[in-house]
Symmetry: C2
Subunit: 180 residues, 2 copies
DNA sequence: TCGGCCCTATATAGGACCGATATATATAGG
DNA sequence: CCTATATATATCGGTCCTATATAGGGCCGA
């Protein structure tokens, strides 16, 4: 990967100060969550390394009833490191789908189960489209382009599913068809 | 993940005997390569574990000039284990794109570099579409559905890129626009 | 009102997995 | 002729995710 967790964190911090918790929220709920991620297990160690390297500074805000909040800020050095990282070619997009892998074994699956898989997928896609649509606020050109990209992909899937679902389920259950 | 490397290997082996090398080729070049993967570093240990568990058997074919080829066959127990695995809900599809992440920082990128990123992406998508189209042989309903799914997604991206590219590059370089 | 669950918040240990490397040779291409 | 690629297995180092630990706050339903 061209960008390891450290660089991804720097990217988020280039938008403004944040705690490890808030960075993770960006990766699990924010716009970026649709195409990048990082877990607590890698973010916290990454932030410590970034401290050692002088790419971020940290201010501890005492809190009652929960661990102190450690708010990180990117330094000029950190900003430079991130800019350098962006000059490297991004690694290839990666799409992983157990759903599609399952479908390669459609012959072995009960038609009802197959239908369930497709229905769940459809629901998931609809939910994602709603999520993307909700994100309307004032967007930068980059954010707007990315939003449109996501919508284009998911709407194409939605269309494909609604168009091909019935035919697929019928054609992949030849035994049942003959028996009926 | 609902399916670990062991189960993915069992899936491939359910289509016929194969060596570790051949299984990996399926994950790196076959139809499945577009949405699942596994490396040598995980496949070889996985096959050893599957041996211990009695899910596969192994026949060694002596070869000259290269390591003996170890051809694995799935056992009835293995087949059962795979069928059981398919009953668990597939984990959510995962799309990871450093390309889109880069675009969130489009303000910080030179317009020429931005154009280069988009051009490379377009070329990559075109190549993928060609690859999918080539795969024409006699396909099972499942394979055909998956192929159509892939085409639908990639053609939607192609269309979006060609439609929005120029506008995006112009709008994301306001400084340059003002200067020009 | 009380219990359970989720949210905030940091942190680590264990394990899964990838990428690079080692090894050895045949074949194809320039 | 030399290099690159393909065949074929295997391991090591390192990165990263998952699950868990800790701890108190607020919120919702019974």
């Amino acid at each position: 990967m061209a960008l390891d967790v450290k660089m991804k964190c720097l990217g988020i911090l280039s938008w403004g100060d944040a705690s490890g918790y808030e960075i993770q929220k960006e990766f699990s709920e924010g716009t970026a969550s649709h195409f990048v991620d990082a877990s607590f297990g890698s973010i916290y160690p990454a932030l410590n390394k970034l401290m050692d390297e002088g790419h971020v500074t940290c201010k501890t805000h005492a809190q009652e009833g929960r661990p102190d909040k450690k708010v990180y800020s990117i330094t000029p050095t950190g900003r430079l490191a991130f800019q350098q990282a962006l000059k490297r070619a991004p690694s290839d997009d990666k799409f992983r789908s157990e759903f599609l892998f399952y479908l390669l074994f459609a012959d072995d699956l009960a038609p009802e189960y197959l239908a369930e898989l497709l229905d769940r997928k459809t629901a998931e896609i609809d939910a994602t489209i709603d999520l993307i649509r909700e994100n309307e606020g004032p967007l930068s050109p980059g954010q707007e382009f990315v939003r449109g990209y996501g919508l284009a992909v998911h709407e194409a899937i939605k269309k494909y599913l609604s168009k091909e679902k019935a035919r697929f389920i019928k054609s992949s259950a030849p035994d049942t068809a003959k028996a009926g």
